[in-house]
């Protein structure tokens, strides 16, 4: 996936090097990498991810993120990326669906559970379900049906029963090896 080069923050100063001037911009961490946004601070995170970084796994759902397709983890909690202007995100850490797997390609247990349960319709809303599911498992490692009922995501393909099974499978640790 094409990715725009990050503006990497300067590390510890060595002696004799003139410190760089403080630059305008919003520094934030996305999937473990540092980024600085110097454009419109009101730009929603969703368009920054998609148009600027070309991290397109987070999908457009609607102007108010109504169907959950644009969920990301913000400091570990699921939020709608279109509802987060970058101005609010200085110093925060964002994890998108692209950041769920390990650097070695090993999948998050819920990702593997989605594969094991074939919990996919067209797949467009799947990243949002994963983020919401991981947020739920963090809050409640052994969720019951009532907890799963509270997920905000919508899906017209009807993947809900399979998603429910996948969340339970991940919670039970019954995940096939990736």
């Amino acid at each position: 996936m094409a990715r725009v080069q990050a503006q990497v923050l300067s590390t510890a100063q060595e002696s004799g090097v003139v410190p760089e001037k403080v630059r305008d911009g919003i520094d934030l961490m996305i999937n473990g990498e540092r980024f600085r946004h110097t454009g419109d601070p009101q730009m929603p995170l969703l368009w920054y991810l998609r148009d600027v970084l070309r991290l397109t796994g987070t999908k457009y759902g609607g102007e108010a993120g109504e169907n959950g397709a644009d969920l990301v983890l913000l400091d570990g909690k699921a939020v709608s990326a279109i509802m987060q202007p970058l101005a609010r995100l200085a110093g925060k850490a964002v994890t998108t669906v692209e950041g769920l797997a390990g650097n070695d390609g090993s999948l998050h247990p819920l990702q593997q559970a989605f594969i094991d349960e074939d919990a996919i319709g067209c797949g467009y809303c799947t990243p949002g379900w994963l983020i919401a599911g991981i947020d739920l498992l963090r809050r409640k490692p052994q969720p019951d049906d009532g907890d799963i009922d509270q997920l905000p995501n919508l899906c017209r393909c009807g993947c809900q029963t399979r998603v429910r099974r996948a969340i339970k499978r991940a919670a039970a640790g019954k995940v096939a090896r990736a």
Binding site: L107, L154, R156, G158, C159, R162
Partner: protein
């Protein structure tokens, strides 16, 4: 290049396309086509222009092309597995590539390289069964011949297994080691015999979605995820009245937004059929990025003028329909007329009537309409989320005048279709905008545009009368339906407009001696178009609800009523050409009844409901158990049985069936598009609430009937019966008969 290929049909031939570079490439070619150069894609560099179905390289890795768009239907998995089974491929070494549109130049006319390319309408697997197995069979035959020559033994003494040829002495040769030789062998004079079912290794076995890993890691690219470096983003404001006009526009503030470059007006092209031109007058804002375009759109000052349809209101349209059906007016079309309904009426022991009202619906695809276009002097390159790339091609060709092969249409995985993507208004918009901008354009419909400007499924009113004789036999059935046809302004003759609304062979046609179905045309200015499950969805709700009402009136178990009407197992000829196998329909009914423990239907506190239907040679039944907890409807259990003949991918089929069931329940529970003063009232999921997890059942128990008939499609098979089974269960649970959808609103009104 080997021979002229094997004739598949008058114009289509199987051919080895390339034997060079150590790879074997087999595809379907069309008559008179010049020998193709080695398709570069099949060398592995450019995976978008395969020109072939199977590529085996020297290492034994295999690429198989999937020709039909996968809108979530699972065809990108099922179609390649049909080829792979016949080829005895090792599935773990198969990569699947979406083929995109295959088009060549036949004296200025398009020639479709891959034959039919159409997704999400239930025809992909039946079509693939007819021609794609042969691709695999030929590739396998060539590999066997290559091995036979190398070993000096007849091919008949060799066998294939999981990507290897096995010699009589047990030696094994990987397909990769044979590929180069196989590519040099002349084709057989006819298609080698296809496998016997006993030898299937992949067909009938479950496989997960081939794109699953890419999807869960966010790596899967949909059309909306594609970019060209310098493409402008376009967002639209469509006129709230489909037939309205732009009276005044002020773009000053819009053009002042940083990054906004241009504002362009669009209009439907007069005389073009619906779905191939702009859907309604629109103003497009073109900008460097989506955020700038959206801000620019928010600052447009537009004054729209209503058109002739501005008086349209949903309630009035429904009243008009009800009045039509209640009066003596002749129908617009008499769709079917068996026996003599009037004469039967004079012998009536009992006559029953009921009217069912169903709302307008939107497609509500997850991925909104979008399109990426780049126009060069002699070429158009597009990435289109379409179900019908050949129709998308026609729109692009009309607007650009380019030669057929100069239009390149890629179709990555599609975020839901449901019929919306059989129309290509958004492709026309994107092409017109790219022309106006002189730059590539990435068109994005926002969610409000997607709900507010759709080719909706029209609402309908069904009135059904039944005559029951003294022996409790269903003597006559007269169904009348009023709706605005989806086929108006689509080049369909007036006397066929009913065909999107009613099915001539739908239940209980062919089972009742005196049967009549009439269709009454309504007029509306809202655009209509194909919708998943049409026309079965609305008709099955009316018919299967009414059968339940008949059973209730006769104080009979509704399962028994249905079984009596279906009668002994037999094959009844249908006027559409196929047959209705009542035995298979009874079988799926009994399967769901047994699973849900129907014998308790009277005793259980919860309500049990049942329904069945048949669609193009496939059979489906649902049983639902529901309970009322105060004013909350809880769907406790849902069982669905389907009989599609041979099952290609059981896991995929279960997913389709469970998914279609939930989709149908979701729509039936909540969904309605309404129009007021000519404007659609719903602009997002808040106004058009797809069901939440909590509203839906925790599980859908799917039973697939094994079979050996040629496979039927299943993309919407499980939709028609879900809602009536639910409504019938609700009746048992609450004593409220819901004759109007959406169900929850009506149920709460009646409780």
């Amino acid at each position: 290049m080997s021979g002229h290929g094997i004739r598949l049909s008058r114009r289509r031939f199987l051919q080895v396309l390339a034997g060079g570079a150590g790879a074997l490439v087999v595809g379907i070619r069309v008559a008179e086509a010049a020998d193709a150069p080695l398709p570069p894609a099949m060398l592995g560099d450019n995976l978008y222009d395969l020109g072939a179905y199977v590529r085996i390289d020297a290492s034994g890795n295999m690429l198989i092309g999937a020709r039909d768009p996968d809108t979530g239907s699972g065809v990108a998995t099922a179609l390649p597995r049909i080829i792979a089974d016949e080829l005895d491929a090792d599935w773990t070494r198969v990569g699947v590539v979406p083929l995109g549109l295959g088009v060549e130049n036949d004296n200025g006319k398009p020639r479709w390289t891959y034959g039919r390319q159409l997704g999400g309408v239930g025809g992909s697997i039946p079509a693939a069964w007819n021609d794609l197995r042969q691709v695999g069979a030929v590739a396998r035959w060539l590999l066997l011949q290559a091995a036979a020559r190398r070993l000096g033994v007849p091919a008949s003494r060799l066998r294939c297994e999981a990507g290897t040829v096995i010699a009589p002495d047990g030696r094994r040769f990987g397909y990769g080691s044979l590929a180069a030789d196989a590519g040099k062998i002349a084709l057989p004079s006819s298609v080698p015999p296809l496998k016997h079912a006993a030898d299937y290794r992949l067909i009938g076995q479950s496989a997960g979605d081939v794109d699953a890993r890419a999807i869960v890691t966010g790596a899967a690219l949909y059309a909306i995820d594609h970019y060209y470096g310098d493409a402008l983003v376009a967002v639209l404001a469509h006129c709230p009245w489909p037939d309205g006009t732009l009276a005044r526009i002020d773009t000053t503030d819009t053009l002042a937004v940083k990054g906004v470059l241009k504002v362009v007006q669009l209009k439907p092209e007069p005389g073009q059929p619906l779905g191939s031109t702009v859907i309604a007058p629109a103003v497009a804002v073109l900008a460097e990025n989506t955020w700038a375009a959206l801000q620019g759109r928010a600052k447009l000052k537009l004054e729209w003028k209503p058109g002739a349809g501005s008086g349209e209101n949903s309630a009035a349209l429904e009243q008009q329909a009800t009045a039509l059906l209640a009066g003596d007016a002749l129908p617009t079309s008499r769709v079917r007329n068996d026996g003599d309904v009037e004469a039967a009426g004079r012998k009536a022991a009992r006559r029953l009537d009921a009217t069912y009202v169903q709302p307008w619906l939107a497609h509500a695809t997850a991925e909104p309409m979008n399109c990426l276009v780049r126009l060069d002097k002699d070429r158009a390159s597009l990435v289109v989320p379409t179900q019908a790339p050949q129709q998308a091609w026609a729109v692009v060709q009309r607007l650009t005048g380019l030669a057929p092969e100069r239009i390149d249409i890629r179709v990555p995985r599609v975020g839901g279709g449901y019929g919306r993507r059989l129309d290509h208004d958004y492709v026309a918009e994107a092409v017109l905008l790219a022309k106006a901008a002189g730059k590539p354009v990435r068109l994005l419909w926002t969610r409000d545009e997607d709900f507010g400007h759709d080719y909706y499924r029209a609402g309908s009113v069904h009135r059904i009368s039944a005559i029951i004789d003294r022996k409790r036999q269903l003597l006559a059935w007269h169904q009348r339906m009023a709706s605005a046809s989806a086929l108006v302004h689509r080049g369909v003759p007036d006397d066929r407009l009913w065909s999107s609304e009613l099915q001539v062979d739908q239940l209980p046609a062919a089972l009742v001696p005196n049967y009549r179905s009439d269709w009454y045309a309504l007029e509306s200015t809202l655009p209509r178009g194909p919708m998943r499950g049409m026309p079965y969805l609305s008709n099955a709700f009316a018919v299967e609800s009414f059968l339940d009402e008949i059973a209730h009136q006769m104080r009979e178990d509704p399962l028994k009523t249905r079984l009596r009407i279906l009668g002994e197992p037999r094959a009844l000829p249908l006027s559409s050409g196929g047959t209705l196998d009542t035995g298979r329909l009874v079988n799926v009914l009994k399967l769901v009844a047994d699973r849900i423990e129907w014998k308790n239907w009277l005793r259980t506190v919860n309500g049990l409901g049942i329904a069945c239907w048949h669609v193009d040679g496939a059979y489906v039944a649902h049983a639902v158990e529901a309970a009322m907890q105060g004013e909350t409807l809880v769907i406790q259990r849902v069982v669905c049985a389907v009989d599609v003949g041979r099952v290609i991918n059981p896991l995929g089929l279960q997913g389709q069936v469970a998914g279609a069931t939930l989709d149908a329940l979701s729509i039936a529970l909540n969904a309605a598009i309404t129009v007021k003063d000519g404007q659609v009232q719903q602009h997002g999921y808040k106004d058009y609430p797809l069901a939440s997890m909590a509203q839906l059942p925790n599980d859908v128990e799917v039973i697939t009937v094994p079979g050996d008939r040629a496979p039927a499609g299943a993309s919407f098979l499980a939709m028609p019966t879900a809602a009536p089974a639910l409504a019938n269960a609700v009746f048992r649970a609450s004593a409220v008969r819901v004759r109007r959808l959406p169900l929850m609103k009506e149920l709460l009104r009646l409780l």
